[in-house]
Protein backbone atom coordinates (compact mmCIF):
# COMPACT_ATOMS: atom_id res chain seq x y z
CA UNK A 1 0.00 0.00 0.00
CA UNK A 2 1.20 3.48 -0.80
CA UNK A 3 1.22 5.86 2.06
CA UNK A 4 0.62 9.57 1.65
CA UNK A 5 4.04 10.14 3.23
CA UNK A 6 6.04 10.02 0.01
CA UNK A 7 8.82 12.39 -0.89
CA UNK A 8 7.75 14.78 -3.62
CA UNK A 9 9.25 14.20 -7.05
CA UNK A 10 8.85 15.10 -10.72
CA UNK A 11 6.34 13.10 -12.69
CA UNK A 12 6.46 13.44 -16.45
CA UNK A 13 3.95 12.58 -19.13
CA UNK A 14 5.12 13.24 -22.68
CA UNK A 15 4.05 12.29 -26.18
CA UNK A 16 4.50 13.24 -29.83
CA UNK A 17 1.75 12.56 -32.35
CA UNK A 18 1.87 12.66 -36.12
CA UNK A 19 -0.29 15.37 -37.67
CA UNK A 20 -3.08 14.33 -40.01
CA UNK A 21 -1.48 16.19 -42.93
CA UNK A 22 1.66 14.10 -42.50
CA UNK A 23 -0.35 10.91 -42.11
CA UNK A 24 -2.18 11.68 -45.34
CA UNK A 25 1.08 12.11 -47.23
CA UNK A 26 2.71 9.11 -45.55
CA UNK A 27 5.24 11.36 -43.89
CA UNK A 28 6.94 10.75 -40.59
CA UNK A 29 6.14 12.76 -37.52
CA UNK A 30 8.77 15.52 -37.62
CA UNK A 31 8.54 16.29 -33.90
CA UNK A 32 10.77 14.82 -31.22
CA UNK A 33 11.02 15.10 -27.45
CA UNK A 34 13.33 13.89 -24.73
CA UNK A 35 13.66 14.38 -20.98
CA UNK A 36 15.64 13.23 -18.01
CA UNK A 37 15.41 13.66 -14.27
CA UNK A 38 18.81 14.38 -12.75
CA UNK A 39 19.72 14.15 -9.06
CA UNK A 40 18.36 16.87 -6.75
CA UNK A 41 15.03 17.05 -8.58
CA UNK A 42 16.49 18.71 -11.63
CA UNK A 43 14.28 18.09 -14.66
CA UNK A 44 15.74 18.58 -18.12
CA UNK A 45 13.29 18.50 -21.02
CA UNK A 46 13.51 19.32 -24.72
CA UNK A 47 11.13 19.39 -27.68
CA UNK A 48 11.92 20.02 -31.34
CA UNK A 49 9.92 20.38 -34.52
CA UNK A 50 11.75 19.37 -37.69
CA UNK A 51 10.89 21.66 -40.60
CA UNK A 52 8.41 20.25 -43.07
CA UNK A 53 10.54 21.69 -45.87
CA UNK A 54 13.65 19.89 -44.63
CA UNK A 55 14.11 16.40 -46.03
CA UNK A 56 15.72 15.17 -42.80
CA UNK A 57 13.74 17.32 -40.37
CA UNK A 58 12.87 14.38 -38.17
CA UNK A 59 16.52 13.43 -37.77
CA UNK A 60 17.45 17.03 -37.00
CA UNK A 61 14.75 17.17 -34.33
CA UNK A 62 15.81 13.88 -32.71
CA UNK A 63 19.48 14.82 -32.62
CA UNK A 64 18.66 18.26 -31.22
CA UNK A 65 16.59 17.05 -28.25
CA UNK A 66 18.88 14.17 -27.37
CA UNK A 67 22.05 16.25 -27.58
CA UNK A 68 20.58 19.11 -25.58
CA UNK A 69 19.39 16.90 -22.72
CA UNK A 70 22.56 14.82 -22.69
CA UNK A 71 24.73 17.92 -22.75
CA UNK A 72 23.05 19.36 -19.68
CA UNK A 73 23.21 16.05 -17.92
CA UNK A 74 26.97 15.84 -18.64
CA UNK A 75 27.54 19.39 -17.43
CA UNK A 76 26.30 18.03 -14.10
CA UNK A 77 24.22 20.93 -12.86
CA UNK A 78 24.18 21.27 -9.09
CA UNK A 79 21.55 23.08 -7.01
CA UNK A 80 24.24 25.64 -6.28
CA UNK A 81 24.96 26.30 -9.94
CA UNK A 82 21.27 26.63 -10.58
CA UNK A 83 20.93 29.27 -7.89
CA UNK A 84 23.02 31.56 -10.04
CA UNK A 85 21.24 33.13 -13.01
CA UNK A 86 24.37 33.49 -15.11
CA UNK A 87 25.41 29.89 -14.61
CA UNK A 88 21.90 28.69 -15.32
CA UNK A 89 21.79 30.58 -18.61
CA UNK A 90 25.23 29.26 -19.46
CA UNK A 91 24.00 25.73 -18.91
CA UNK A 92 21.24 26.27 -21.45
CA UNK A 93 23.42 28.21 -23.85
CA UNK A 94 25.94 25.38 -23.99
CA UNK A 95 23.20 22.85 -24.59
CA UNK A 96 21.85 24.86 -27.52
CA UNK A 97 25.32 25.30 -29.02
CA UNK A 98 26.00 21.57 -28.62
CA UNK A 99 22.68 20.68 -30.26
CA UNK A 100 23.39 23.00 -33.18
CA UNK A 101 26.85 21.52 -33.63
CA UNK A 102 25.54 17.95 -33.45
CA UNK A 103 22.90 18.64 -36.10
CA UNK A 104 25.48 20.30 -38.36
CA UNK A 105 27.92 17.42 -37.87
CA UNK A 106 25.25 14.90 -38.75
CA UNK A 107 24.45 16.91 -41.87
CA UNK A 108 28.03 16.95 -43.09
CA UNK A 109 28.57 13.28 -42.21
CA UNK A 110 25.62 12.34 -44.40
CA UNK A 111 26.42 14.80 -47.20
CA UNK A 112 23.44 16.98 -46.41
CA UNK A 113 23.21 20.71 -46.02
CA UNK A 114 22.49 21.88 -42.45
CA UNK A 115 19.11 23.25 -43.57
CA UNK A 116 18.09 19.73 -44.68
CA UNK A 117 17.99 18.97 -40.95
CA UNK A 118 16.29 22.25 -39.98
CA UNK A 119 14.50 22.05 -36.66
CA UNK A 120 13.28 24.27 -33.84
CA UNK A 121 14.42 23.58 -30.27
CA UNK A 122 13.15 24.32 -26.78
CA UNK A 123 15.26 23.26 -23.79
CA UNK A 124 14.00 23.56 -20.23
CA UNK A 125 15.67 23.08 -16.85
CA UNK A 126 13.22 22.95 -13.96
CA UNK A 127 13.56 22.41 -10.24
CA UNK A 128 10.96 23.04 -7.51
CA UNK A 129 12.53 26.50 -7.08
CA UNK A 130 13.19 27.70 -10.60
CA UNK A 131 12.42 27.08 -14.24
CA UNK A 132 14.65 28.26 -17.08
CA UNK A 133 14.20 27.95 -20.83
CA UNK A 134 16.07 28.50 -24.07
CA UNK A 135 14.09 28.50 -27.32
CA UNK A 136 14.84 28.83 -31.02
CA UNK A 137 11.85 29.10 -33.33
CA UNK A 138 8.23 28.58 -32.38
CA UNK A 139 6.45 26.52 -29.78
CA UNK A 140 6.16 27.59 -26.16
CA UNK A 141 7.26 26.76 -22.61
CA UNK A 142 5.01 27.47 -19.62
CA UNK A 143 5.16 27.01 -15.87
CA UNK A 144 2.76 27.25 -12.95
CA UNK A 145 3.72 28.14 -9.39
CA UNK A 146 2.20 26.87 -6.16
CA UNK A 147 -0.14 29.89 -6.08
CA UNK A 148 -1.67 28.82 -9.37
CA UNK A 149 -0.04 31.54 -11.43
CA UNK A 150 0.43 30.26 -14.96
CA UNK A 151 3.07 31.96 -17.05
CA UNK A 152 4.63 31.48 -20.43
CA UNK A 153 8.40 31.75 -20.35
CA UNK A 154 8.76 32.09 -24.10
CA UNK A 155 6.59 33.01 -27.05
CA UNK A 156 6.44 31.46 -30.50
CA UNK A 157 8.96 33.15 -32.75
CA UNK A 158 7.52 33.74 -36.22
CA UNK A 159 8.51 36.02 -39.03
CA UNK A 160 5.87 38.19 -40.67
CA UNK A 161 4.21 35.06 -41.95
CA UNK A 162 2.98 32.29 -39.72
CA UNK A 163 4.77 29.63 -41.76
CA UNK A 164 8.17 31.21 -41.25
CA UNK A 165 10.36 30.76 -38.21
CA UNK A 166 13.99 30.54 -37.18
CA UNK A 167 15.68 27.16 -36.99
CA UNK A 168 18.60 25.82 -35.01
CA UNK A 169 20.44 25.57 -38.31
CA UNK A 170 19.68 29.15 -39.41
CA UNK A 171 22.84 31.26 -39.68
CA UNK A 172 21.61 33.73 -37.06
CA UNK A 173 20.09 31.07 -34.80
CA UNK A 174 22.25 31.75 -31.74
CA UNK A 175 21.39 35.47 -31.85
CA UNK A 176 17.67 34.75 -31.77
CA UNK A 177 17.59 32.40 -28.76
CA UNK A 178 14.92 33.40 -26.26
CA UNK A 179 16.18 32.92 -22.71
CA UNK A 180 14.00 33.29 -19.67
CA UNK A 181 13.85 32.10 -16.10
CA UNK A 182 11.37 32.29 -13.27
CA UNK A 183 12.39 31.86 -9.64
CA UNK A 184 9.30 30.76 -7.81
CA UNK A 185 7.94 27.66 -6.11
CA UNK A 186 7.33 25.70 -9.29
CA UNK A 187 4.51 23.17 -9.32
CA UNK A 188 3.98 22.38 -13.00
CA UNK A 189 5.78 22.89 -16.28
CA UNK A 190 4.89 22.18 -19.90
CA UNK A 191 6.72 22.43 -23.21
CA UNK A 192 5.00 22.10 -26.57
CA UNK A 193 5.69 22.45 -30.27
CA UNK A 194 3.88 24.82 -32.61
CA UNK A 195 1.16 22.34 -33.60
CA UNK A 196 -0.53 22.93 -30.25
CA UNK A 197 0.20 26.59 -29.78
CA UNK A 198 -3.04 27.79 -31.37
CA UNK A 199 -4.97 25.71 -28.81
CA UNK A 200 -2.78 26.35 -25.79
CA UNK A 201 -2.15 30.07 -26.09
CA UNK A 202 -4.33 33.08 -26.33
CA UNK A 203 -2.35 34.68 -29.14
CA UNK A 204 -4.06 38.05 -28.90
CA UNK A 205 -3.20 38.45 -25.22
CA UNK A 206 0.03 36.49 -25.55
CA UNK A 207 -0.85 34.34 -22.54
CA UNK A 208 -1.15 30.63 -21.88
CA UNK A 209 -4.78 29.44 -21.85
CA UNK A 210 -5.40 28.17 -18.33
CA UNK A 211 -8.33 25.85 -19.16
CA UNK A 212 -6.00 24.08 -21.56
CA UNK A 213 -3.19 23.46 -19.11
CA UNK A 214 -4.95 22.95 -15.77
CA UNK A 215 -6.72 19.68 -16.69
CA UNK A 216 -3.51 18.34 -18.22
CA UNK A 217 -1.53 19.14 -15.08
CA UNK A 218 -4.23 17.46 -12.98
CA UNK A 219 -4.11 14.46 -15.24
CA UNK A 220 -0.33 14.16 -14.92
CA UNK A 221 -0.59 14.57 -11.14
CA UNK A 222 -3.00 11.66 -10.89
CA UNK A 223 -1.27 9.44 -13.42
CA UNK A 224 -0.24 6.24 -11.67
CA UNK A 225 1.20 4.22 -14.48
CA UNK A 226 3.59 6.14 -16.79
CA UNK A 227 2.95 3.83 -19.76
CA UNK A 228 -0.80 4.15 -19.49
CA UNK A 229 -0.54 7.91 -19.01
CA UNK A 230 1.60 8.28 -22.12
CA UNK A 231 -0.94 6.27 -24.10
CA UNK A 232 -3.75 8.45 -22.80
CA UNK A 233 -1.90 11.60 -23.76
CA UNK A 234 -1.14 10.22 -27.24
CA UNK A 235 -4.78 9.30 -27.65
CA UNK A 236 -5.80 12.78 -26.62
CA UNK A 237 -3.37 14.35 -29.11
CA UNK A 238 -4.87 12.19 -31.84
CA UNK A 239 -8.47 12.84 -30.81
CA UNK A 240 -10.91 14.32 -33.28
CA UNK A 241 -11.35 17.46 -31.25
CA UNK A 242 -7.69 18.26 -31.80
CA UNK A 243 -7.26 17.06 -35.37
CA UNK A 244 -10.22 19.18 -36.44
CA UNK A 245 -8.32 22.23 -35.33
CA UNK A 246 -4.80 21.42 -36.45
CA UNK A 247 -3.22 18.99 -38.88
CA UNK A 248 0.35 19.55 -37.73
CA UNK A 249 2.55 17.26 -35.64
CA UNK A 250 1.95 17.67 -31.93
CA UNK A 251 4.31 17.32 -28.99
CA UNK A 252 3.65 17.94 -25.34
CA UNK A 253 5.80 17.35 -22.28
CA UNK A 254 4.03 17.84 -18.96
CA UNK A 255 5.97 17.89 -15.70
CA UNK A 256 4.36 18.03 -12.29
CA UNK A 257 6.20 18.20 -9.00
CA UNK A 258 4.60 16.74 -5.91
CA UNK A 259 3.55 13.63 -4.06
CA UNK A 260 1.07 11.17 -5.38
CA UNK A 261 -0.97 10.01 -2.43
CA UNK A 262 -4.01 8.01 -3.43
CA UNK A 263 -6.15 9.90 -0.94
CA UNK A 264 -5.00 13.07 -2.58
CA UNK A 265 -6.25 11.84 -5.92
CA UNK A 266 -9.76 11.24 -4.77
CA UNK A 267 -9.98 14.67 -3.29
CA UNK A 268 -8.93 16.35 -6.50
CA UNK A 269 -12.05 16.08 -8.59
Amino acid sequence: MDTPQQTPKWRIVAASACGTSHLKNNQLCQDAHHWEILPDNILVAAVADGAGSASQGKIGAMIAVETAVENISLQGPTPRKIQDDTQLYQLLQEAVVAAKKAVENEASACNHQPHDLATTLIVMVATPEVVAVAQIGDGVAVAKDLNDNLRSLTMPENGEYINETTFLTSPNALDTVQFNLWREEIANVAVLTDGLQMLALNLVLGEPHKPFFSPLFNFAMKAENPTVAKEQLSKFLGSERITQRTDDDLTLIIGVFGTMGIGNNLLQT
Partner: protein, 233 residues
Amino acid sequence: MDLNITQKVMLDTLRLDEVVEFAENPEPRCPCVLLLDTSGSMQGEKIESLNQGLLSLKDELVKNPLAARRVEVAIITFDTNINIVQDFVTADQFNPPILTAQGLTTMGAGIHKALDIIQERKFQYRSHGIAYYRPWVFMITDGEPQGELEHVVDQAAFRLQEDEANKRVAFFTVGVENANMDRLNQIAVRTPLKLKGLNFIEMFVWLSASMSAVSHSQIDEQVALPPIGWGSI
Protein backbone atom coordinates in the same frame (compact mmCIF):
# COMPACT_ATOMS: atom_id res chain seq x y z
CA MET B 1 -10.49 -5.74 -9.95
CA ASP B 2 -9.32 -5.93 -13.58
CA LEU B 3 -12.63 -4.57 -14.70
CA ASN B 4 -12.19 -1.63 -12.37
CA ILE B 5 -8.83 -0.78 -13.85
CA THR B 6 -10.16 -0.90 -17.40
CA GLN B 7 -13.07 1.28 -16.46
CA LYS B 8 -10.79 3.78 -14.80
CA VAL B 9 -8.48 3.98 -17.81
CA MET B 10 -11.38 4.50 -20.17
CA LEU B 11 -12.80 7.14 -17.93
CA ASP B 12 -9.52 9.03 -17.73
CA THR B 13 -9.00 9.07 -21.47
CA LEU B 14 -12.51 10.18 -22.04
CA ARG B 15 -12.13 12.87 -19.42
CA LEU B 16 -8.93 14.33 -20.86
CA ASP B 17 -10.71 14.76 -24.16
CA GLU B 18 -13.65 16.37 -22.40
CA VAL B 19 -12.00 18.58 -19.83
CA VAL B 20 -9.19 20.22 -21.77
CA GLU B 21 -10.46 23.47 -23.25
CA PHE B 22 -8.90 25.15 -26.25
CA ALA B 23 -8.01 28.79 -26.66
CA GLU B 24 -10.24 30.53 -29.20
CA ASN B 25 -7.79 32.04 -31.61
CA PRO B 26 -8.80 33.30 -35.04
CA GLU B 27 -7.72 30.99 -37.86
CA PRO B 28 -4.62 32.17 -39.65
CA ARG B 29 -5.49 33.62 -43.07
CA CYS B 30 -4.08 32.92 -46.45
CA PRO B 31 -5.10 35.85 -48.70
CA CYS B 32 -5.34 35.52 -52.47
CA VAL B 33 -6.24 38.35 -54.86
CA LEU B 34 -7.56 37.40 -58.28
CA LEU B 35 -6.67 40.26 -60.60
CA LEU B 36 -8.76 39.70 -63.69
CA ASP B 37 -8.76 41.29 -67.11
CA THR B 38 -12.33 42.18 -68.08
CA SER B 39 -11.48 44.33 -71.12
CA GLY B 40 -13.44 44.09 -74.36
CA SER B 41 -11.18 41.43 -75.84
CA MET B 42 -12.22 39.02 -73.07
CA GLN B 43 -15.83 39.01 -74.36
CA GLY B 44 -17.56 35.80 -75.28
CA GLU B 45 -16.12 32.37 -74.63
CA LYS B 46 -13.16 33.67 -72.60
CA ILE B 47 -15.16 35.50 -69.96
CA GLU B 48 -17.64 32.62 -69.79
CA SER B 49 -14.84 30.12 -69.21
CA LEU B 50 -13.35 32.41 -66.59
CA ASN B 51 -16.71 32.60 -64.79
CA GLN B 52 -16.93 28.79 -64.86
CA GLY B 53 -13.41 28.64 -63.45
CA LEU B 54 -14.35 30.87 -60.52
CA LEU B 55 -17.18 28.50 -59.63
CA SER B 56 -14.79 25.56 -59.60
CA LEU B 57 -12.36 27.51 -57.39
CA LYS B 58 -15.08 27.89 -54.78
CA ASP B 59 -16.13 24.23 -55.09
CA GLU B 60 -12.59 23.00 -54.65
CA LEU B 61 -11.70 25.24 -51.74
CA VAL B 62 -14.72 24.30 -49.66
CA LYS B 63 -13.90 20.61 -50.04
CA ASN B 64 -11.00 21.22 -47.70
CA PRO B 65 -12.28 22.29 -44.26
CA LEU B 66 -9.10 24.06 -43.15
CA ALA B 67 -8.64 25.83 -46.50
CA ALA B 68 -12.30 26.89 -46.45
CA ARG B 69 -11.68 28.75 -43.19
CA ARG B 70 -8.20 30.03 -43.96
CA VAL B 71 -8.04 30.99 -47.62
CA GLU B 72 -9.40 34.46 -48.27
CA VAL B 73 -10.33 35.42 -51.82
CA ALA B 74 -10.65 38.94 -53.23
CA ILE B 75 -11.41 39.80 -56.86
CA ILE B 76 -10.31 42.93 -58.68
CA THR B 77 -11.21 43.45 -62.30
CA PHE B 78 -9.46 45.84 -64.65
CA ASP B 79 -10.90 47.21 -67.86
CA THR B 80 -11.35 50.94 -68.40
CA ASN B 81 -12.01 51.05 -64.67
CA ILE B 82 -10.71 49.20 -61.65
CA ASN B 83 -13.35 47.45 -59.58
CA ILE B 84 -13.13 45.51 -56.37
CA VAL B 85 -15.80 42.98 -57.32
CA GLN B 86 -15.22 40.94 -54.19
CA ASP B 87 -13.46 42.19 -51.08
CA PHE B 88 -11.53 39.64 -48.98
CA VAL B 89 -13.79 36.86 -47.82
CA THR B 90 -13.01 33.36 -46.56
CA ALA B 91 -13.64 30.64 -49.10
CA ASP B 92 -16.71 29.30 -47.29
CA GLN B 93 -18.36 32.74 -47.62
CA PHE B 94 -17.27 33.33 -51.21
CA ASN B 95 -19.98 33.63 -53.86
CA PRO B 96 -18.35 33.73 -57.28
CA PRO B 97 -19.54 36.72 -59.33
CA ILE B 98 -20.57 36.61 -62.98
CA LEU B 99 -18.18 38.90 -64.81
CA THR B 100 -18.78 40.73 -68.07
CA ALA B 101 -16.17 42.21 -70.40
CA GLN B 102 -15.89 45.67 -71.93
CA GLY B 103 -13.47 48.57 -72.41
CA LEU B 104 -9.69 49.02 -72.21
CA THR B 105 -6.95 47.23 -70.22
CA THR B 106 -5.70 49.41 -67.34
CA MET B 107 -3.44 46.70 -65.97
CA GLY B 108 -0.98 49.03 -64.22
CA ALA B 109 -3.74 50.59 -62.13
CA GLY B 110 -5.06 47.10 -61.41
CA ILE B 111 -1.69 45.95 -60.07
CA HIS B 112 -1.51 49.04 -57.85
CA LYS B 113 -4.97 48.31 -56.47
CA ALA B 114 -4.10 44.67 -55.76
CA LEU B 115 -0.97 45.66 -53.85
CA ASP B 116 -2.94 48.36 -52.01
CA ILE B 117 -5.65 46.06 -50.72
CA ILE B 118 -3.06 43.51 -49.62
CA GLN B 119 -1.28 46.14 -47.59
CA GLU B 120 -4.57 47.17 -45.98
CA ARG B 121 -5.54 43.59 -45.28
CA LYS B 122 -2.25 42.85 -43.55
CA PHE B 123 -2.80 45.90 -41.39
CA GLN B 124 -6.23 44.58 -40.42
CA TYR B 125 -4.82 41.14 -39.63
CA ARG B 126 -2.17 42.62 -37.40
CA SER B 127 -4.54 44.89 -35.54
CA HIS B 128 -6.80 41.90 -34.82
CA GLY B 129 -4.01 39.55 -33.82
CA ILE B 130 -4.61 37.29 -36.81
CA ALA B 131 -1.62 35.35 -38.11
CA TYR B 132 -1.25 35.12 -41.88
CA TYR B 133 0.59 33.57 -44.77
CA ARG B 134 2.26 35.40 -47.62
CA PRO B 135 -0.46 36.84 -49.87
CA TRP B 136 -0.81 35.71 -53.45
CA VAL B 137 -1.93 37.71 -56.46
CA PHE B 138 -3.08 35.77 -59.48
CA MET B 139 -3.34 38.02 -62.54
CA ILE B 140 -5.10 36.76 -65.66
CA THR B 141 -5.07 38.70 -68.92
CA ASP B 142 -5.43 38.13 -72.65
CA GLY B 143 -3.59 41.29 -73.63
CA GLU B 144 -1.21 43.96 -72.35
CA PRO B 145 -1.61 47.34 -70.64
CA GLN B 146 -3.69 49.66 -72.74
CA GLY B 147 -5.51 52.92 -72.08
CA GLU B 148 -3.32 54.23 -69.27
CA LEU B 149 -0.13 56.27 -69.02
CA GLU B 150 3.09 54.39 -69.50
CA HIS B 151 4.53 55.61 -66.21
CA VAL B 152 1.61 54.11 -64.29
CA VAL B 153 2.58 50.72 -65.68
CA ASP B 154 6.27 51.34 -65.00
CA GLN B 155 5.54 52.35 -61.44
CA ALA B 156 3.36 49.29 -60.95
CA ALA B 157 6.12 47.04 -62.29
CA PHE B 158 8.69 48.72 -60.06
CA ARG B 159 6.50 48.41 -57.00
CA LEU B 160 5.82 44.79 -57.80
CA GLN B 161 9.54 44.07 -58.04
CA GLU B 162 10.10 45.66 -54.65
CA ASP B 163 7.23 43.78 -53.05
CA GLU B 164 8.45 40.47 -54.46
CA ALA B 165 12.01 41.16 -53.33
CA ASN B 166 10.77 41.93 -49.82
CA LYS B 167 8.51 38.87 -49.80
CA ARG B 168 5.45 41.06 -49.32
CA VAL B 169 3.58 39.18 -51.99
CA ALA B 170 3.84 36.31 -54.46
CA PHE B 171 2.54 37.52 -57.81
CA PHE B 172 1.63 35.05 -60.54
CA THR B 173 0.74 36.03 -64.10
CA VAL B 174 -1.28 33.95 -66.53
CA GLY B 175 -1.58 34.92 -70.20
CA VAL B 176 -4.60 33.79 -72.21
CA GLU B 177 -4.53 33.22 -75.98
CA ASN B 178 -3.13 36.38 -77.60
CA ALA B 179 -1.65 37.86 -74.45
CA ASN B 180 1.61 39.73 -75.04
CA MET B 181 3.84 37.36 -73.08
CA ASP B 182 7.00 39.46 -73.63
CA ARG B 183 5.35 42.55 -72.23
CA LEU B 184 3.97 40.58 -69.25
CA ASN B 185 7.44 39.20 -68.60
CA GLN B 186 8.76 42.77 -68.31
CA ILE B 187 6.14 43.62 -65.72
CA ALA B 188 6.12 40.49 -63.54
CA VAL B 189 9.02 39.06 -61.58
CA ARG B 190 7.92 35.43 -61.85
CA THR B 191 7.84 34.09 -65.40
CA PRO B 192 4.27 34.40 -66.74
CA LEU B 193 2.52 31.18 -67.66
CA LYS B 194 0.55 30.68 -70.85
CA LEU B 195 -2.83 29.08 -70.33
CA LYS B 196 -3.50 26.10 -72.59
CA GLY B 197 -6.61 27.01 -74.55
CA LEU B 198 -9.31 28.20 -72.15
CA ASN B 199 -8.48 25.68 -69.47
CA PHE B 200 -9.62 27.94 -66.63
CA ILE B 201 -11.23 25.16 -64.65
CA GLU B 202 -8.06 23.13 -64.43
CA MET B 203 -6.13 26.27 -63.58
CA PHE B 204 -8.44 27.17 -60.70
CA VAL B 205 -8.42 23.60 -59.41
CA TRP B 206 -4.65 23.92 -59.32
CA LEU B 207 -4.89 27.30 -57.59
CA SER B 208 -7.19 25.82 -54.97
CA ALA B 209 -4.83 22.89 -54.36
CA SER B 210 -1.89 25.28 -54.08
CA MET B 211 -3.63 27.63 -51.69
CA SER B 212 -4.73 24.64 -49.62
CA ALA B 213 -1.14 23.43 -49.46
CA VAL B 214 0.03 26.87 -48.37
CA SER B 215 -2.73 27.27 -45.79
CA HIS B 216 -1.72 23.97 -44.19
CA SER B 217 1.96 24.68 -44.14
CA GLN B 218 3.74 25.06 -40.85
CA ILE B 219 7.11 26.66 -40.26
CA ASP B 220 7.90 25.85 -43.79
CA GLU B 221 8.80 28.56 -46.20
CA GLN B 222 9.08 26.41 -49.27
CA VAL B 223 5.77 24.85 -50.10
CA ALA B 224 5.83 22.27 -52.87
CA LEU B 225 3.08 23.26 -55.31
CA PRO B 226 1.26 20.71 -57.44
CA PRO B 227 2.56 20.32 -61.03
CA ILE B 228 1.05 22.71 -63.56
CA GLY B 229 -0.87 20.82 -66.22
CA TRP B 230 -2.90 23.79 -67.46
CA GLY B 231 -0.17 26.04 -68.79
CA SER B 232 3.35 26.42 -70.06
CA ILE B 233 6.15 28.95 -69.87
